[in-house]
C-alpha cells in the first residue's frame, strides 16, 4: 500500500501545485497567450505520442476518426467510427 499512498499524495500535490502556479502567472501578455494555447498544444502532443508508436491500421483509423470529427463535430460518433475503423483495418492487414 506504500505505492497507493505515495501515488495518492504525490498526484494530489501535483494537481494543487498546478493550481497555485496558475494563480501566480500574469493574466495578460505572453504568459496569458501561452496558457490559453496550452490545451490544444497538450492534446496535439498526446495524439502525436500515441501515433508515433501506432501501427498502419491505427494510422488509417486515426485518419477516419479525423475525417469524422471534421465532418460531424461529434466526439462520441468519432469514437464509434474510429473503433469500427481500427477493427476493420486490423482485420484487413
Amino acid at each position: 500500500m506504500l505505492l497507493a499512498a505515495g501515488l495518492a499524495v504525490g498526484t494530489l500535490s501535483l494537481r494543487l501545485t498546478g493550481y497555485f502556479l496558475g494563480f501566480r502567472l500574469p493574466e495578460t501578455g505572453a504568459w496569458a497567450r501561452a496558457f490559453s494555447a496550452l490545451p490544444g498544444c497538450l492534446i496535439a502532443s498526446l495524439v502525436t505520442v500515441i501515433l508515433m508508436t501506432a501501427s498502419t491500421a491505427e494510422w488509417g483509423a486515426a485518419a477516419v476518426a479525423l475525417g469524422t470529427a471534421l465532418l460531424m463535430r461529434s466526439v462520441p460518433l468519432s469514437m464509434l467510427i474510429g473503433v469500427g475503423a481500427v477493427w476493420f483495418f486490423r482485420t484487413l492487414f
Partner: protein, 237 residues
Amino acid sequence: MFQPGLVNAMTARHEAAKGFCDITPLSLGVLVYGFAFGLLAAQAQMSGIQTGLMSGLVFAGSSQIVGVERLVAGAGALSALAAGLALNVRILLMTSSLRREFAGRSIWQILLGAHLTTDENWALMHATRSKGHPVGYWYLMGGGLSLLVFWVASTILGIFFAQALPDPRALGIDFAFTAAFIAMLTSLWRGRPDIGPWVASILASGIVVLFLPVEASWALVVGGLVGALTAGAQARE
C-alpha cells in the same frame, strides 16, 4: 421573488448534469481500462477494498496501471512510485490552466476540482467551450464524477471478472481514447495563430519519443510546454 442563489444552484446542477452526460462515451472507455487494471491489481495480490481505495484516492488511471505493473514485474515500491508520478506531471499543466474555473471557489471546491481533473474531462470542457457552450467548473466536476464512479467500480469488478472478458484490442476498443482525443483536437483549433504552437508541440514531442530514453509522458509534457511557449513568444495577430 428573484433568488440569485437558487438560480446559481440550478445553473451549477444543470452544468454538472451536462458534463456527466456528455462524458458518458469516454466513461464507457474508462470501464475497459478499469477492468484491465483490476486484473493487474489481482496479480499484485490487492483486495477489492484496496483496489477501490487506490482508484478513488489516486484517480489517475495510467499512473496506477504503470505503478502496479512495475510492482508485478518485480520493481521496488519507490521505483514503481517514481514511474507512476512521472506520468502525472502533465496534470500539473492541466490544473495550472484552470485559473478561471477555480477563481473565487471555496477550499473544498478547489480540492475537489483539482482531484477530479483528468485528461478526459479537462479536454472535453475545453472542446465543448470551443464549440460556443459557456461551460466551466461544474461541467468539469460532472464529467469528473462520472469518470470516478466508472473507474472505481470497474477496477473493483475487474479483480473478479476481468479474465472472463474479451480482449479489448480484438474489438478495437483500445482505440476509443485516441479517436476521442483526435475529435477534441479538432474542436480546440482556433485558426492560424495555432499553426506555429501546434507544429512546435508535434515536433518537440516527436523528437523526445524518437531520441530520448524517457517515459512517453515526458514527451507529452515537453511538447505541451514548447507549444505553449511558442504561442507566448509569437506576436499577437
